[in-house]
């Protein structure tokens, strides 16, 4: 089928989805809206990691720390500088991008494991700073944040904050789609797949690694900033290694190098802990155990299993499974006539 009709059909679906999401608060209980807000924030963070790891092949184990940088930036920009949210959020993104580049730059020039180590170092060093730079971060106790205000109208409950997050989600997803479809996005994939060939084609590899890293960290920072407004507090515990593993799982489970995959991964991974909790509690209730103490390690195990399982069995993730399911639905097994035009295209 021609690319344009396919595109407009996708756009139509996306519009319907956004409309449905906008109507959501009228239909479901408040707790769900809290959850949807959290999910929206995770989507932005996962887009960021997907740009780095999924599209450009730069593995980051420190994404949570950059989310943390964004959250602290918002908390401090609000309390110390009195910045409104529409300045604080971009500032959060920029600060995270600068931090990301600062940690990443020395190792972006070199192939291999070096960047992984640099990001791991970022994870531990930044978290150390969150805990120990008492005078600024208030240590383990953390900082409180006032809700964002738009034209004097405070976004002080889940539903109001939800709309802000939804708007950001739409904007940041569109931005990511546009970048990925452009010359820049093609260069990202080229760097990931074959950097030597990319160089012959005139793609400046180090530059695009730098761009991907800065952009991914920017997304992380924005997500962190939104999280700070959403939770109305910031503390170091939120941004540990487990959260970095969480984001990485989301990218892998959803499907590396796919915008739809990043969204699906974020949805799946955000819902998963709730499903695990519900499952563990109901099983525990049936048999009379208290399983609530194992929830955190259970989560860790399942995250790990998902990472390993998807990497081995379906490296293109849920997005690929979804495409296959669509394919199977469109072409029911009863039609025997093959369609030569769409062969191989999925």
């Amino acid at each position: 089928m021609p690319g344009t009709s396919r595109f407009s059909r996708n756009a139509l679906w996306a519009l319907l989805l956004v409309a449905a999401l906008a109507a959501l608060p009228a239909a479901v209980p408040r707790y769900w809206i809290y959850f949807a807000g959290l999910l929206g924030i995770n989507i932005i963070a996962v887009h960021g990691l997907n740009i780095m790891t999924g599209y450009t092949g730069l593995l980051s184990l420190g994404h949570a720390a950059f989310v943390g940088v964004g959250a602290y930036t918002v908390a401090l920009a609000q309390s110390r500088l009195g910045l409104p949210f529409y300045l604080a959020i971009p500032l959060a993104g920029l600060t995270a991008a600068v931090m990301g580049v600062g940690f990443g730059l020395p190792s972006l020039r070199i192939r291999g494991l070096y960047l992984v180590i640099a990001t791991l170092a970022a994870q531990f060093i930044l978290n150390f700073i969150f805990v120990h730079w008492q005078s600024v971060t208030n240590g383990d106790a953390g900082l409180t944040v006032q809700p964002a205000t738009i034209f004097g109208y405070p976004l002080n409950n889940e539903t109001r904050a939800y709309y802000l997050i939804l708007a950001c989600d739409v904007a940041f997803t569109l931005f990511a789609i546009n970048v990925i479809r452009s010359r820049v996005g093609r260069a990202f994939v080229a760097v990931r797949e074959r950097d030597r060939t990319a160089e012959v084609l005139g793609v400046r590899i180090v530059w695009y690694k730098f761009v991907a890293f800065a952009l991914g960290s920017f997304y992380a920072g924005v997500a962190g900033g939104l999280l700070a407004y959403f939770n109305q507090f910031v503390n170091p515990e939120q941004f540990g290694l487990l959260l970095s593993v969480f984001f990485l799982s989301a990218v892998i489970v959803g499907g590396m190098g796919s915008i739809l995959g990043a969204i699906m991964g974020a949805v799946f991974m955000t819902l998963l802990p709730e499903i695990l909790r519900g499952g563990a509690l109901s099983i525990g209730g049936t048999f009379g155990f208290d399983l609530s103490s194992i929830l955190v390690p259970l989560r860790e195990t399942v995250f790990g299993l998902l990472i390993v399982g998807f990497l081995i069995l379906e490296p293109r993730g849920l997005a690929q499974l979804w495409k296959r399911a669509q394919h199977a639905l469109r072409r029911p097994p009863t039609t025997t006539a093959p369609n030569p035009g769409s062969e191989g295209k999925s």
């Binding site: 690319g3 931005f175 990511a176 546009n178 970048v179 479809r181 452009s182 010359r183 820049v184 996005g185 093609r186 260069a187 994939v189 080229a190 797949e193 074959r194 030597r196 060939t197 990319a198 160089e199 012959v200 084609l201 005139g202 793609v203 400046r204 590899i205 761009v211 952009l215 190098g257 035009g341 191989g344 295209k345 999925s346």
Partner: protein
Amino acid sequence: MLRVDGIHLAFGGLRALSGVSVHAERGRITSVIGPNGAGKTSLFNVISGFYTPQQGTVTLDGQPITQLRPSARASAGMSRTFQNIALFHGMTVLDNIKLGAHTNLKGGVFSAGFRLPAARREEQALSAAIQRDIIGLLELDTVQHHYVEDLAYGLQKRVELARALVMKPKILLLDEPVAGMNSEEKREMSRFVLNVRQDWNTTVLLIEHDMSMVMGISDHIVVLSFGKPIAAGTPDQVRANPDVIKAYLGTGDEAAA
């Protein structure tokens, strides 16, 4: 057009190229042949900038490019294909071809992300140019939206050629374009290379094992053996040259090729 003069290249004590010169004239197809280990691939890597020769110069259209990085040579108007297919998986044929024009475009993250008019125009112009000039010429219209990894070998090679052509290079380097192909695919590829030269007057430098292709389409041939040039001339002159026959017979396995 492309002049390679007096190249000496050694790895440690191992001499790969000694005093190799090749001149590719504008609008002509020049081929470099030689038995395995003759230094053909080393020569290509010197030309595209992966190896820095100890001696000798490479000039493109009168400009010295010996010191340029590989990416800068692309901007200077040089493009190449690879012996082993080097397409980018996870991308469609069209996107792979568009990457060939990377250096001709300017858009950055912001103009792309916000879909600024300049970036949109640039992208549309590129798409139109590819549809007009490349897709038809190389007969890729039915597969342009497919993922490259799903295509047959011969088609993948053709996509590589398309990618090398999209920036309208001054010089096109082809590294064994028909290696591993069946005779049908080889004939097709020869036809495409000739069509490109005819339509665009592109200068072509070819490395190839396959004698039927080299003899069939070359205007000028340079023969290397053990890193040294041993003969040069038209296909007929080269075919009759006793040194060439000796070099090929001496290694045995090439004689059959």
